[in-house]
């Protein structure tokens, strides 16, 4: 039991930050394996076609990945609203409400396979890592525009003769499908290799750029592109599992802001739209002013002032 506590909290208070972050990566890896547990697909070059595929997974995990056992919610959303019979998806939107109301962008921090890929890529040493730049904040809004245009409007209105809309986000932007599906499937199927063309090269370029940028910038796809993160971000301040800051305890040392790789300031708003609930701020706090969970209450600035 003591060894387990030591594993979770580290040997000393200083180790806690690193130990907790490693624990998060272990959980991310475990979830990556759970959602991609059709190992046979990686041998045969075929994808899973069982009934579990009608269920969505919380994170970005392409259903054309040979190992995928569930469906990507963004792909599923485009499939339903692009279908001639349905122009709104109660099923996928309901799923996003359900997951968002439970943990908000905690999905990005713990349950997204592509988030794990970006986390690991950012660990690769580079001459100069970029934390923020001039257009950083305005560019964060791009993911909402991408959600509106490529995930909703284009599949809904740019349809073929039978009223079928294509999944434009998956087709033109998503590097996840390329990484998880495009590369392994084309590698293993000679017939697919013959069909490779401009689109494959375009998506390959986007993937390459995402990989290179992930080494320099922390999670560029999550910050600027991901429509799923854009949806979950709207639930951050109202989800069951969220952060709370005890202003009575807070000593304004600024450590939480300094360690946040999404450039949030937990003292200003500990449930910022950009917060992926990685817990780095919580673990870095020297006075344990930041808490997470379901039953915690905010001890707001107003409460502190009133008591004073």
């Amino acid at each position: 039991m003591d060894k387990l506590k030591e594993f979770i909290n580290g040997k000393s208070k200083k180790d806690k930050y690193k130990a907790r972050n490693n624990l998060r990566h272990i959980f991310q890896s475990f979830w990556f394996l759970v959602t991609n547990s059709f190992f046979e697909g990686f041998k045969t070059g075929k994808i899973y076609s069982g009934e579990l595929k009608q269920l969505c997974v919380p994170g970005m995990n392409c259903y054309s990945c040979p190992g995928a056992k569930g469906s990507c919610p963004i792909g599923a959303l485009q499939a339903v609203i692009g279908s001639p019979n349905y122009k709104f998806s109660y099923y996928v939107v309901g799923f996003l409400f359900f997951v968002g109301a439970l943990i908000g962008r905690g999905v990005c921090g713990y349950l997204c396979p592509f988030g794990l890929v970006q986390d690991l890529l950012h660990k690769i040493p580079f001459v100069k890592k970029i934390e923020t730049f001039k257009w950083d904040k305005p560019l964060r809004k791009a993911k909402y525009l991408i959600l509106l245009v490529f995930v909703i409007l284009l599949p809904l209105f740019l349809v073929d003769i039978i009223g079928q809309g294509a999944p434009y986000f998956c087709k033109l932007i998503c590097p996840v499908g390329m990484l998880e599906g495009g590369i392994p499937l084309v590698w293993m199927n000679t017939s697919m290799r013959g069909a490779v063309g401009f689109l494959y090269a375009w998506k390959g370029l986007i993937l390459l750029l995402t990989i290179l940028l992930s080494i320099i910038i922390y999670r560029p796809f999550c910050k600027y592109i991901c429509p799923l993160g854009a949806i979950y971000s709207l639930f951050n301040s109202v989800s069951f599992f969220r952060y709370t800051l005890d202003h009575q305890k807070c000593i304004h040392c600024g450590r939480c802001k300094a360690v946040c790789e999404m450039q949030c300031d937990p003292v200003q708003n500990c449930n910022d739209l950009e917060c992926i609930r990685c817990g780095k701020c919580k673990n870095a706090c020297p006075v344990d002013a930041i808490a997470c969970g379901v039953t915690n209450l905010d001890v707001s600035k107003e409460t502190v002032k009133a008591k004073a």
Partner: protein, 50 residues
């Protein structure tokens, strides 16, 4: 205190219930089958071929 916690979590609970109700409606309308039909075949657009 308990009342405060309940109030602060009411929005979350409402959203959660809306989500469950919408999923139920969606499954009832046959949307899950549309998702499955798309997901069990290789999505050519997703992998950069179609």
């Amino acid at each position: 205190m308990k009342q405060k916690i309940l109030k602060s979590r009411l929005t979350s609970l409402v959203l959660l219930c809306i989500g469950i109700a919408m999923m139920y409606i969606g499954v009832h309308r046959g949307e899950a089958l549309v998702v499955m039909n798309k997901a069990i075949r290789v999505c050519m657009e997703c992998i950069g071929i179609g």
